[in-house]
Structure formats: C-alpha cells, structure tokens
Amino acid sequence: MNYIIKPAASLFIAAAITVAALSFVYNKTYESIEKQKNKAQEKAMREIFMYGTYTFKEVPFSPTKSINAVYEVYSLVSDFNPKKAGYILKLSTEGYSGPIEFIIGFGIGNSKEIKGIRILRQSETPGLGALSVKYDFYGQFSGKRISPLKVTKSSPNSDEIQAITSATITSRAITNAVNEAIEWYFSVEGQPKVIEDDEWWYSEDKVYNLVPGGSLKNYLTPEELEEIDFHPFVLTEEAWGRLTEEALENLKLQGSVE
C-alpha cells in the first residue's frame, strides 16, 4: 500500500505548494496587470486621437461578432460642454494563429474619417503576421475615408489596404473587422454622402475663414448651412457661384481653385 500512498502524497504536497505560490503571486499581481492593460489601451486611444484633450466614456453595448466594446470620445476644449468628437471601438478578430485584439477610432462631424487603428494583443507568426503591430501596416488606416476597405497585394488605391507580405490572412482578418466596425458606424451616424469628383468640397473651418464677415449665411440656403454642420462641407458649383469675388480670390491665392 505504501508504494501507492507515498508517491501520491508527495505529488499532492508538491502540487499544493505550487498552487499556493501561484495564487499568492496571482493575487499580488492582479491589480498591476489590470492597470498595465488599461494603461496600454488608453495610451493607444490617446495616440489615435493625436494626444488631444479628449475624454473616453464606455457606452453600454452588447458585443457582436467582432465588436467587443464601444467608447464615445468627447472633446474637452470647451470644458463646460464636452462635445462628442468620435468613437473608439474595441475589436477582436480571428487571425492566423489566434485572436487579434485591436481598437479603431472614428471621427464625426467635420473630421469624418478613420482616425486610425492600434493592435493591442496578437499572437501571429513573428516576422510575418506579427508585423501588423508596425506602423507600416496599421498606419495605412489613418485618415482613410469611412467606406468599406479592401485588401490588395499590389500598391493600394485610396480604399485599399496593402497586405503584409506573406501574411494575407492576418491583413484580411483585421480589415474585415474594420469593415464590420464601419458598418456599425453607418448604422449609428448614417452613411456619409459620397463626394463626386466634380463637386467642390472644403472643410467647414476653411470656408468660414475665407468668407468676409465670417458668416456663410449671406451666401447659402438654410439647407446648405445645415449640411455643413453634419457633413464634410459639400458645395455644388451653383452654390460656389453665389460666393463673392473676394472669397474666390482668397481661394485662388491658396491654390485651392484653378
């Protein structure tokens, strides 16, 4: 009997001591680990919004396939009345060798664009898929217009992302999750008006500064003014015709109009 009990008891004791040590270390480090994780995520969020004066507020959201959490971003420039400046979505997607967790930032109002993505956690092949944490890959998303993106292997167009060499699966996984986030954005913010090539468009601030007196009211219809508040500024040629000579002259000086 002894030859069974003695080894079993010894192994039990060894395991018990190890477990005790582990749980001790786990309890001691739990808080710091959570803090480190949150710090990393917040740093990534601040990076996406260019270290501006913003605050992030998690909003209730029931997780979908890729989207884990949603944060609203508020600008603190006028501190009595924080103005909503965009969204940050926490996404997770199945990569080549495990889940990839990352965040994406969207701007709203007159900076309607993909602010950027940052990879938080991944376990892709080192030297291949793991290169997704490098700026060469994730930087491609910054400043893209909010519309579904495609992955390409050759040099990318404005709505395409160039895949990492030999890591197409990783690149596709991330881009697909981004597209899901974009769909979510459309469902909340509405699909932005597509800007045709023959329409003149400028950002709100730019045109406000160009028009004498600082007000567009003299030139534009109420509907056009309302549009400026919610969309990237779109003016038809007919509306441009109503702008004064002086305003056009200013635009010419800046080289914006031929």
Partner: protein
Amino acid sequence: MKHYIQLLKDGIYNKNPVLVQVLALCPLLAVTTSATNAITMGLSTTAVMICASSAISLIRKLMPSEIRIATSVVVVAGFVTILQLLLEAYAPQNVSEALGIYIPLITVNCIVFARVEAFASKNKILPSMVDALGMGLGFTLGLFIVGVIREFLGSGSIFGYELIREQSVHVLIMIMPPGAFFTLGVVIMVRNYMQAKSLESKKGGNK
C-alpha cells in the same frame, strides 16, 4: 571552482543544448525570426531553468523516484506562470508585449526537463544552478546565432535595425519554419568542423 567553470563550458560549447544535443527545436523554430526575440527567449528560459533546477535539487531527496518527472512538470509550469505574471505586472510594456507569447513555450521546452532530470535531480543545489546557467546561456547563444542569420537574410535587419531596405532581396523562406532548419544545419556543420579541426591539431601536437 574548476568544476564549475567546466560545467559552464559544457553548457555553452561542449554540450550546447541547441548545437550539440539538438534539443528544444520547438522554441528554435518559433522565436528565432529575429535576434531580439531569440535573446529575450533565451534569457527568460535561463531564468526559469535556474529556478527550476535549484528547486528540484532542493527537494530531490524528498521525492520518490516514481513521480520525479510529474513533480518536475508541476514545478517548471509553476515557475513559468509566476514569471509570466511578474513580467506582465512589473516589466515595461514593450518587454512584456514582446515576450508575451513565448513565455508559455518555456513550459514545453525539453531542455528545462533534460537538465532537471539529468542533473538537478542527482546533484547539490549550487552545481545544479551553475549547470542551469551554463545550459541556459548555451541555449541563448544557439538561438542568437540562428536568429541573427535568419533575421538578416529574411528581413534584411539585425536587432530590428534595417540594413537592407530593398524588399526583393529578402529571402522570405528564412523567416518561415524551414529557414530555421536550414540555418541550424549550417550552424551545426560549422561547429562540428571547428571541433574536428581543434581535435586534429591536438592530436598533431601529441605526435
């Protein structure tokens, strides 16, 4: 003292775990895609080996021989998890991120068990620690050599500093698993050649 130096020498050159014993090929394939990865993996394995070897050496007389291996598994896994928790909690962000996926690989690293089994379970604590240190450094050296070669040929850089920007000359297969085998084969060949040479010259001297 001489004994300890011999132990270190054995670990690093004479019985190098990667180049002579050809153990631990799993982490070799996985992490030697860059020199930095190779070194960090090597050093963290060394840390775990020293802890595990000294712990096993301490309890070697209390442990019935039937469950020696089972106990080693428990102890090594425990140390690896503790190391991982500590790194995640206190190491700078970039270090724990870089190491994150490699740490669990140490648990299944046979070199740790090989030393615990072959050495620590039969020797006193101090020699066991020195042996673990030597073998760990040897492991690091092996990974490092393979890592530098693969990183240079595969991504044209060393320690992440780009030396060759031109993508078309990068040999992609070198940073994929087959590249590890090619490189390891060549490195072992060079080492064996060096050893054969030194043996020959010794013989020649005796004549």
